[in-house]
């Protein structure tokens, strides 16, 4: 019997793979990009180069958020390199790794950024990677930013920073404002939580429960949905039964969307809602349609088109126009402002120790002394210290309008201060 040739099928498969790869690469060639090339700017002379790692999600459940966040990071880096000539003359070279909301891949990406790319700072996206990486970051002296997680913010000798307050801080600031200005009922307002069955959701619920007790509000309970399951009819039914006057909702884009639609379909008008800022991308609002109208969210930055122009807003207008947006999304703003904040810390560190001696510990020292920096006028003053890694303690509330638009209903309002117990990582563990 003639023996079948070993190489034939392999040859076919290799050729097929090469074909797919070629199509992919040709499809990605810059010549295909329809946007005209910008006029040649003079290339600045840089003293050197620093690698910044960005662990993000272009695939997986957080992909829409990841794209916006990384766009903000990249635009800020572009601004720093092209307009400012780098950080104190040093160019920032971003290396972006997509991890598809997978903790193991995020841990591997962190190791790769440090060992292969020699990154001096790493920006994260997902909440779950913060507790997984905070110990390693402190051990290796690498500054991190990301979702404002207590596991990172309140860890001993933490290298983790965010420009703005934690999600719960911002929602509770919004709640207090709503009770004072919008609530027309008698007695104490009834507050419910619709969130994710994950640690950020439960620590949020715990914080809200304690805040309600302090303020004399009635905490009616929570309806938590698994992160991977967006269908929420059971949670809607639970919340209807609890009869809240206001619902504080935290989820991802599809989670918010499902909640809003199912809540609208349940026929329970007159209940106020404050949603996490993931609600605000235009695509989410368009899909939510009328179910989102009148709902509150928060946007803890100055806003293009609503606030008086300043350097930052003029810059953002230009970037937003390039992307076809009216208003940069909050996640884009998160990326943009965190990059500016870290760059400012790095500038201080470079001035103090010089490029040759720059390391993570020097950046951390400088960042922990950052005072009065407002990200080109996009945020309130950021004031960091060795024990306070949240840049500022303000938020602002926006209301969703018909036509997938939103407008601010407040300027920056203070968020409730944290008790000493709430400034420990332990407080946020469990339920």
């Amino acid at each position: 019997m003639r023996r079948k040739g070993i190489g034939k099928e392999w040859l076919v498969s290799i050729l097929a793979m090469m074909l797919v790869a070629s199509v992919a690469l040709v499809g990605c060639a810059p010549s295909e990009v329809p946007t005209p090339a910008p006029p040649e700017a003079p290339t600045p002379e840089f003293k050197g180069e620093i690698v910044w790692g960005l662990i993000t999600d272009f695939t997986g459940p957080l992909a829409p958020s990841g794209k916006d966040l990384t766009a903000g990071d990249r635009d800020a880096i572009k601004y720093i390199n092209e307009e400012l000539g780098g950080v104190a003359g040093v160019k920032i070279e971003p290396v972006v790794i997509d991890c598809a909301y997978d903790v193991s891949r995020e841990v591997a990406a962190f190791a790769k950024l440090l060992d292969v790319h020699k990154a001096m700072y790493v920006g994260l996206i997902s909440s779950s990677s913060v507790p997984a990486l905070i110990g390693k970051a402190t051990e290796k002296q690498i500054v991190l930013t990301g979702s404002p997680e207590p596991a990172g913010l309140f860890a001993p000798n933490s290298y983790f920073y965010t420009p703005f307050p934690m999600w719960a801080d911002m929602q509770l600031g919004g709640l207090d404002w709503w009770v004072e200005n919008e609530w027309k009922g008698s007695g104490s307002p009834r507050v419910g939580i619709a969130s994710i069955d994950a640690q950020p959701g439960w620590s949020h619920a715990k914080r809200t429960r304690d805040h309600c007790e302090r303020k004399g509000y009635t905490y009616v309970g929570e309806a938590m949905h698994p992160v991977a399951v967006v269908e929420q009819s059971a949670e809607v039914a639970t919340m209807k039964r609890l009869k809240p006057d206001i619902i504080l909702a935290v989820s991802h884009d599809t989670g918010h969307l499902t909640w809003l639609r199912e809540w609208e379909a349940s026929g329970t008008p007159g209940v106020a809602q404050i949603h996490h800022w993931c609600l605000l991308p235009e695509s989410t609002l368009k899909s939510a349609g009328t179910s989102a109208e009148g709902v509150f969210s928060y946007y803890p930055f100055r806003m293009v088109g609503f606030d008086q122009d300043n350097t930052g807003l003029r810059l953002l207008k230009e970037y937003a126009r390039e992307r076809g947006w009216d208003l940069p999304t909050p996640l884009y703003m998160m990326g943009f402002t965190r990059t500016l904040m870290i760059a400012e810390g790095m500038r201080m560190a470079l001035e103090k120790v010089g490029f040759e001696n720059l390391d993570g510990a020097a950046i951390n020292d400088a960042l922990s002394q950052l005072k009065g920096y407002n990200c080109l006028g996009l945020t309130p003053d950021i004031n960091l210290s060795p024990t306070e890694h949240r840049g500022y303690e303000y938020t602002r509330l926006v209301r969703i309008l018909p036509g997938a638009k939103y407008e601010p209903v407040t300027d920056f309002i203070p968020v409730p201060p944290l008790t000493p117990e709430e400034k420990t990582g332990e407080y946020y563990k469990g339920k």
Partner: protein
Amino acid sequence: MQLPCGTFSTTYEFDKAIIKTRAHWIVLALAITLAFAFPTFSHPYLIHVVNFVFISIIAALGLNILSGCAGQISIGHSAFMAVGGYTSAVITYTLGASFWLALPCAIVAAGLVGLIFGLPSLRLKGFYLLLSTLAAQFIIVYIVAHLDITGGLAGIDVPYAQLGNIVFNTDKSFYYIILVVLILATFCARNLVRSKVGRAFIAVRDNDLVAEVMGVSLFRYKLLAFFIGCCYAGAAGSLWAHWHGYVCPEQFSLMMSVWLLGYIIIGGMGTTVGPFLGTILVLGLTEGLSTLVTGLGTTYPHLLDIIAPLKDLIFGIMLALFLILEPRGLAHRWYMMKSWYSLFPFSY
């Protein structure tokens, strides 16, 4: 086992031996020496990747015994890793005991939990059993996510392994622990398959009714397969926890279980070499594509959000092509190569 051309089994001892010729011994000794020397000349990130691959191989070896040899398909294997990881974490973090005590406890605990979830296998087969093990995935992860002792959804910080004054807190140092466990796990798996128990597993897999008629106790061997397979998962979970220094429920996802099954299907079910080949191919491909996309993203930053999802597309196409062209797994290619070598230079 096929022997090189001109080599014959002349004694029972020789026939039973796994390593038969001097050349085999030399290759094995060289491979082990190379494996132990690897961290001294390798890039730190490569050690990180290899650690991940080795831990995945240990888990896949266990799943291969359970699904490949005994035919009990499981899609909850990462949950059994979670049992091992959390047992080890609780013993070291909460009780303050040593990693060296925690590791065997984690192995036994995962095996015992595997026994419980193996009970339905006595009445269920095929896709029905698959669904029952899927329940294990959700139940176990739900339990560890909602118990106070396991740190709930926040997880637990796990102390690093320590031996005297040596702390295994780097990829390089922990590599040696993983390597030793992998060698032991492979040795046990290879020998198990050719023992009475291994033959009983294969009989149960091929036709359980015939096996029972021949006197193979289905009750005993199906549960034993679950116990052994889950012991491997427990070892992998414990190593995972102490390597990362942290465990949380999100680390042990359904996708991880699916991929473990994928490793042994791609590598070749029922063979000891299959989990090695499948895991190395899939994780190597993942790493290669990730590096390619990161590189392209640096060159074409404005197209990064289009390029990034392409890696999943290319990965899917490559796997589909592979399974179409080599449905018996990489192990089959390996055996063809060995067959060619055994007849060399007289391959007719």
